[in-house]
């Protein structure tokens, strides 16, 4: 009479090897291709753009959400706070600033932030945009 064969532990481990291979490949893919995104004080959905100018990371990034709330370095501040913050930053850092504005933000609110930046000596302002699928 043939009894049910009892699988040894090493046999079950061997069956897991293809699974481990795939999981390792996925892990390597996410580690290399992905970029760990930092959490911000305000949620911003940037506008879509069809242009192909790659963004060069600037030392100072000002986030403005849909309601005009501002954040710098993960800290939420108001428009007067922005002015105070810019006063503490060196002129070199201030020369080039990126603005990550929400796509639904009104231009009027964006303009207020831009005027504050200009008033504090910011010369070049770059707006963040995401690649649209229209390329």
């Amino acid at each position: 009479m043939k009894l049910l064969a009892v699988k040894s532990r090493s046999a079950t481990d061997d069956n897991m090897i293809p699974l481990i291979n795939i999981v390792f490949l996925l892990l390597i893919f996410f580690m290399i291709a992905g970029k760990i995104s930092s959490s911000e004080a305000v949620y911003v959905e940037p506008p879509l753009s069809s242009r192909d100018t790659p963004l060069i990371e600037k030392p100072l990034v000002v986030l403005v959400d849909e309601n005009g709330e501002i954040s710098i370095g993960g800290e939420a501040i108001d428009i007067d706070g922005l002015e105070q913050r810019l006063k503490t930053i060196t002129q070199e850092e201030k020369s080039d600033v990126s603005v990550k504005a929400d796509k639904n933000l009104s231009v009027k609110k964006l303009q207020i932030v831009l005027h504050k930046l200009q008033a504090q000596g910011v010369a070049n302002i770059t707006l963040y945009a995401k690649v649209s699928g229209r390329n």
Partner: protein, 142 residues
């Protein structure tokens, strides 16, 4: 059988379960925190706040273009001609590429619309576009 072989310590086989647990946790972490967004730069040229003389010269020479909240474009010099940001053709004949172009968006226009307009101008070969002051929805007040 040799004595060395007799006393060789048995190799303990490690269980793979612990390894896969750790790898799964790492995978979850990277999947949840990774971002694959491709960012693009939109250069914003804003009206200079320098000397009043410079600004006056720029304003005299410049062409002003209104951008409505619905995406319509109108040249101040020829308000009868209206174009959409998706089709600039009616305006392109009227715009002088050598003169600076100042875009005056309506106060309720959204940033997405502004970026679309700047993209279309760039595609049409108009690179000297400056962002001007916002105009009220009822333009007569401006």
């Amino acid at each position: 059988m040799s004595a060395a072989r007799l006393y060789q310590p048995r190799r303990r086989k490690l269980s793979l379960t612990a390894l896969i647990d750790v790898v799964f946790i790492l995978l979850m972490f990277f999947m949840l925190t990774s971002s694959f967004d491709q960012w693009r730069a939109v250069d914003l040229q804003t009206e200079p706040k320098s000397s009043a003389t410079n600004q006056k010269n720029l304003q005299q020479d410049a062409q002003y273009l209104y951008l409505s909240a619905t995406g319509d474009l109108q040249l101040r010099e020829a308000e009868a001609v209206k174009a959409s940001i998706t089709s600039l053709t009616p305006l392109l004949n009227l715009i002088d590429g050598k003169r600076p172009l100042i875009l005056l968006p309506e106060e309720t226009a959204r940033v997405q619309l502004l970026v679309m307009a700047l993209d279309e101008f760039k595609n049409a070969g108009l690179s000297r576009v400056t962002l001007g002051e916002v105009v009220p929805a009822s333009r007569d007040a401006y």
